[in-house]
Amino acid sequence: MADSPVVTVHDRPNSYIGRSVPRPNVQRLLHGRGTFTDDIKLPRMVHAAYLRSPFAHADIKSINADAAKAAPGVAGVFTGKEIAELCEPWVGVLSHLEGMRSPPQYPMAIDRARWQGEPVVAVVAETRAQAEDAVELVEVDWAELPAACDMTAALDADAPVIHEEYGNNLCWERIVDEGDVDAAFDQAAVVVEDEFTFGRHTGVTLEPRAIISSWDPSEEQLTVYMSTQGPHMLQAIFAKHFGLEEHRVRVICKDVGGAFGIKVHTYGDEIATAALTMLLKRPVKFIPDRMESFTADIHARHHTIKARMAVAEDGKILAIDFDDLTGIGPYSMYPRSSGIEINQVLNLTGGPYTIENYRARGRVVFQNKPLMCQYRAVGHPIATAMQEALVDHAAQALGMDVVEIREKNLVPDDAYPTKSITGMPFDKLSHHAAKDKLLGMVDYAGLRADQEKARESGIYRGIGFACMIEVTSPSPMFYGVGGAPISAQDGVTLRLDAKGNLIVASGVTEQGQGAEAVLSQVAATAVGVTPDKIKIITGDTEITPYGGGTWASRGTGIAGEAAAQAGHALRDQVLEVAGIMLQSEPRKLDIRDNAVVDADTGNERISLAEVGRVVYYRADTLPKDYQSELIATRHHVPKKFPFAFTNGIHCSHVEVDVDTGVVKLLNYWVVEDCGTVINPLLVEEQVRGGVIQGIGGALYEECLYSDEGQLLNGNLADYLVPMAAEMPDIQVGHVTSPNSDSELGAKGAGEGGTGGAPAAILNAVNDALLPLGARLTVNPMTPERVLRALGKTE
């Protein structure tokens, strides 16, 4: 390591920052030794299955479970009413989203089901198969009700009202009006207008949600094994709604097979599973199958937006004005609420550009479909696609190149710190540097020449750009301020053991993204050990410091900084006791490669193993008035800015088969600025994985519903996720603007790929179709929608 070239300001002997160190958990997972929640078997464990509403909206007249209760292996059958007796309902609103409303939600439907897939009856049996057999024997007398499924029609005067006490289906409305929008449109040389539709889709984690709940009545202790992103949040929620003290709830999260924001909410079937263990006094496992996942996991993204942009003759953007409507299902999700996505759209749109006039309305609507909530890159793909499609549209109207119009409008790199028109404070962004770096990777002139030439033989290729900002590492301004039990701070405890190994415990969780690798690299660097000396512990509320977990690209920016600070503290402890042993001033010593060395010469003085041995076994050899400590905990919470914004620019190169409507992804480039890069390999894989999820939204993924609110494609044959054969190469470059709110300078990198890809691909497709007069403003861009835009089908 000492011979490595300089990569970051954190370079020192024994630095692992900025280097692609292998993830510590990779070998275990590759050997098939992972422990996912479904791998865990507890003594006397039984299995739950849920009867779910077959209707989008229906009254439950009666339930007859006699036959189910008598079925082989059945341990118990419970209705929503019985579960509700153990558990307080919840309300998914945040107080800072002023005026938002949502009624109390119970774990399972009681008298009325409000979406197809809502849990209605819980059946517990010795095996999941027996539980499913018994579910078929439960008789429910349903009275189907008219449903409000279509989100735009849900606000019509004659739409069925889902919560009668509200009088209509509006959950929340927010209006932003800054500058003088009307005047700006009056002065504009060009006004472009589009109506966008973004399809409803979902997260499709490889490992579904998973929970085992185990109640010990002797200690009034609830232990929950769970595939989750927020163990402490779930601890608080279980405690609150079951009336337990928090220390009587332990949430353990072993390996997680992908989460993407799906596993950071309060699901009725999971809360009910905790009630089931209390009723039965036996551990209860519940693993939704893939069909259930499609109707019970959160969905995301469905928006319709009318938007327009005013532009001056020279390409200067004068104003943006849009009206966004999103349908969220019958309740706002708890505790994050279903208002954050549209709030992000209102906050982020136009963020890369200097814009002085801005008006937006966002409406959140109740409907009889599964709940919608935060999924990877919350709101970003919507905001970015709308904004970037309008920019391209304006460039076309002006006859200006799409890169040139961006150059004219991107916030100058020397303008920071600054604020967006919507009041978002930016620490330091680098739109121009990122664009310049991207143009160094993309042969833009070459692509344009190729495009021209290909058109002569009837081949339509397109180039699309997308500039974007990304919310990462949020402060308490995101959720805490709204009253949710979601911690914005996170902690890391470092302990040196008697052999000089470093035990690292953190409140963030590992969900496959490499959080443990980052913690290991930062701790190794800050203390002075090699990564093989490190053991990482995450995902257990009983033994890790309190923290928010893994969401909103916060692990590296927040827990990473806590690890750095804890590392400094532990290093000082080690050097203090080593100084005593060596009769040297601590400041003349350093720790490198698991040994205390002379700072000047690097000569080894004493190994960490020897320090550990003396401290733990031979403290009698140390001064009697001295007590050593080899453990340190530090927490970090963002204070200077509400969010550590990052920026990026994407470029997509596509070929559209104008006879079949199929979009082929030829190449893809991203330059992102996530501040200090701790592990380039992990950042680049986050970007690539994120882009691929964005490609899913752009081209493939959509939850299709009948008019009656029945999901039509709730399986992986019909719901199309992006697959390897269609994916382009994705080339990633970096610009580094360190986060000034931390020593490490890192920001998040988990969501920008997903946030930017739909915009870049939409623009690339429209660029390809430009000579044919076709324009798409819809995601996903299915072959049929492309053909329709081309006028080749009805």
Binding site: A129, N715, M723, A725, P783
Partner: protein
């Protein structure tokens, strides 16, 4: 997603398998469609009769001018078979479009023909090649031509208590040209549209064309009008256009999640042009 309880039998001969098909029994071959429907509880038979391992149902052979493919032959075997590549090039071209290697390793020819999905490649190939299905039942063995075998949506000439033992297709002749063109959302998905084309030529002139379309009706759809439009003509812009025009009468596509009937018809025309141009250029 657990199947309802079922009984299981593993017969050691075709005759024993047939004897077990009395009652509410379903054959388990590759299981690539069946197991999903069992797990989703869309079907719940009393008895699964597992015919995997019946040697007499496997294998590819050529006898005179006929290629015989045992019902238990896996898609992967077709894909790798030199006999198929040489004697049934239409099938060789179509098989890589069937799902993914893991599915092709398990899925069987007989299963695909018996399931008769109108979007599946092998039923369309069988019809394009004017092949036949060998069927065994308690009443003996019989052979049904592909044209009579596919009756309607997932409906075939198979009677209760019968199973498919093999399919037969004529070996390719020197004056036959073949092409498969298909468009799917992703590689390996069921096609939104596609054509399996078998064209017999005499020099530049088409003697007969059997164009069979997937996802264009309740069964694999033989386009007789398009075939007639091509017969007696060279493959050129005019005859391709006439064949495309005839498809409106030949095909009966319906709306599905990916596309409307109108889109499918449009795509079928595009596939037609691509297949015929390839054949003309060969």
């Amino acid at each position: 997603m657990k199947p309802a309880p079922f009984n299981y039998a593993k017969p050691s001969s075709v005759d024993e398998a047939i004897s077990l098909l009395d009652g509410d029994a379903t054959l388990l071959a590759g299981g690539q469609s069946l197991v999903a429907t069992l797990n989703m509880r869309l079907s719940a038979p009393d008895l699964l009769v597992d015919i995997n391992g019946l040697e007499e149902l496997s294998g590819i052979s050529v006898d005179g001018g006929t290629v015989r493919i045992g019902a238990l032959t896996r898609h992967r075997e077709l894909e790798r078979s030199e006999v198929i590549a040489a004697q049934a090039p239409l099938i060789a071209e179509a098989v890589p479009l069937i799902a993914h290697p893991a599915i092709r390793n398990r899925g069987t020819v007989g299963g695909s023909i018996a399931f008769a999905d109108p979007a599946a490649e092998l039923p369309a190939c069988l019809l394009a090649l004017d092949g036949a299905v060998e069927i065994a039942g308690s009443g003996g063995r019989r052979k049904v031509g592909a044209g009579e075998f596919f009756r309607g949506l997932y409906d075939t000439a198979l009677e209760d208590g019968e199973l498919i033992t093999a399919i037969e297709v004529p070996a390719a002749a020197g004056n036959q040209r073949f092409a498969v063109e298909e468009v799917a959302r992703r590689h390996g998905d069921y096609g939104m549209a596609g054509v399996m084309a078998s064209v017999t030529v005499n020099g530049e002139t088409v003697e007969a064309a059997r164009l069979v379309y997937i996802a264009a009706g309740g069964t694999p759809m033989l386009a007789e009008g398009a075939g007639a439009a091509l017969a007696g003509n060279a493959i050129d812009e005019a005859s391709i256009g006439a064949a495309q025009s005839a498809l409106e009468g030949d095909l009966d596509p319906f709306d599905d999640m990916n596309s409307t009937a109108a889109t499918k018809l449009h795509l079928a025309r595009v596939m037609t042009e691509r297949a015929l141009k390839r054949i003309a250029g060969a």
